[in-house]
Symmetry: C2
């Protein structure tokens, strides 16, 4: 193939076999793979999920996306990485970018896409979102029939979270890390503590499942990728 | 294997290669496959998505789930199908049930799960939701950072839909069929017409994409699986 193409690939929630069949095929064909890395962890979690599908010849480029409140620093990183990707594609290469979960939901990919412009040939391959992974593992329903679901970041204002918990039968609370006590108090206030579960690292070896939020000790250190699912129409059975 | 197990498998949005690697493997191993069928269409869409992964020996049981307002008729169908599945599993078989999109979101599977009880060995395999499939195909972002997303059924009251469209940066409007003009008027009232796209049959041969809702003729017959994505922070470029 002489015309370059860029594939943005969602890796799903964590288990290697929860990527799509299409993603597995494309990962075996690409020549360059961009993987997001956090300097602290050293290796990219997304990369560890897909490594078994890559060809031996692939050039892996781990690139650091800063997790900072400094918008200028983030923009500079996105500009540089997008420019490097565009160069690889225009030189005729098959290029991949991997992202945890789904590429179009809470993903850095969107910031790159905005910079890559319409002149490049781009294909986005969807991935299983973290909350779908959790719902399946815990056999915990999201929403049904005429019900609705809100997907919220716990970094939002408490009033915004309260309103979502009142308005929607099902609420996914992402980015729980460091905010658990505040969220647990809010759920208790609304009478929803019995309707919620917490899971971290769903589908991975280090998966942690709390079917009862009341059982989590005050001050207990929860994993970074902790997510709470709330469904006020559904009280989970003890597992 | 002598102990039976039941696998609930999400088939994703429609393309056969958008099922997970795990789903593909399990589909090749099961001995009995339950597929939901609508009498009108004759063949099951979910079955057509996964057929290429099935073994030659598999016993396919297409079962009809009535689409009716009669709750008693629906419950009777769920009771009967769940009882038949449980019998297959307790007799030692590897049994699959397939469902469009994801098993735990707007899926009949949950009604079966409630009836199957905790004594059976059950594994739920997640699938790509329809809206994630659409977002990828249209390269249309769902939500980012501190934003939130609501997933709504257009069968909900107009006031409920209006509030979701005001409260959330991103709104997924499912079950648009037969309600398009009402929804389009609501989006126009809220100044969101330019922030919305409509797609049907995403990732399938008969995919239809309307990047501009204003371009849809009044009274135009839209496909049954039409979904609208709204993102008020993101005005899509013309494709």
């Amino acid at each position: 193939m002489s015309t370059g193409k860029l594939f943005a690939i969602g890796t799903g929630p964590g288990a290697s076999d929860l990527i799509t069949v299409r993603a597995a095929r494309i990962l075996g064909e690409i020549q360059v793979l961009y993987a997001p890395a956090s300097r602290k962890q050293g290796d990219s979690l997304a990369l560890s999920i897909v490594r078994e599908y890559l060809s031996e010849q692939v050039l892996i480029k781990e690139r650091h996306f800063p997790m900072t409140a400094d918008a200028g620093e983030k923009r500079q990183a996105w500009d540089e990485i997008a420019a490097e990707m565009a160069q690889d594609v225009t030189s005729g290469k098959q290029v991949g970018f991997i992202t945890l979960g789904d590429s179009m939901l809470f993903s850095t990919w969107v910031f790159l896409l905005e910079r890559l412009g319409p002149q490049l040939d781009i294909e986005v391959v969807p991935g299983i979102t973290s909350f779908a992974g959790i719902a399946s593992r815990a056999q915990f329903p999201l929403c049904m029939e005429q019900q609705s679901m809100a997907v919220m970041s716990c970094t939002a204002d408490e009033e915004v979270l309260r309103r979502a918990l009142i308005d929607h039968e099902c609420v996914v609370l992402m980015k729980v890390y460091g905010r658990f006590e505040k969220i647990r108090a809010l759920l208790a206030e609304l009478g929803l503590l019995q309707c919620a579960i917490l899971m971290a690292n769903a589908s991975m070896e280090n998966e942690m499942y709390y079917p009862e939020l009341a059982a989590i000790k005050a001050g207990e250190a929860l994993p970074y990728f902790s997510t709470i699912l709330v469904n006020r129409k559904y009280r989970q059975q003890k597992v």
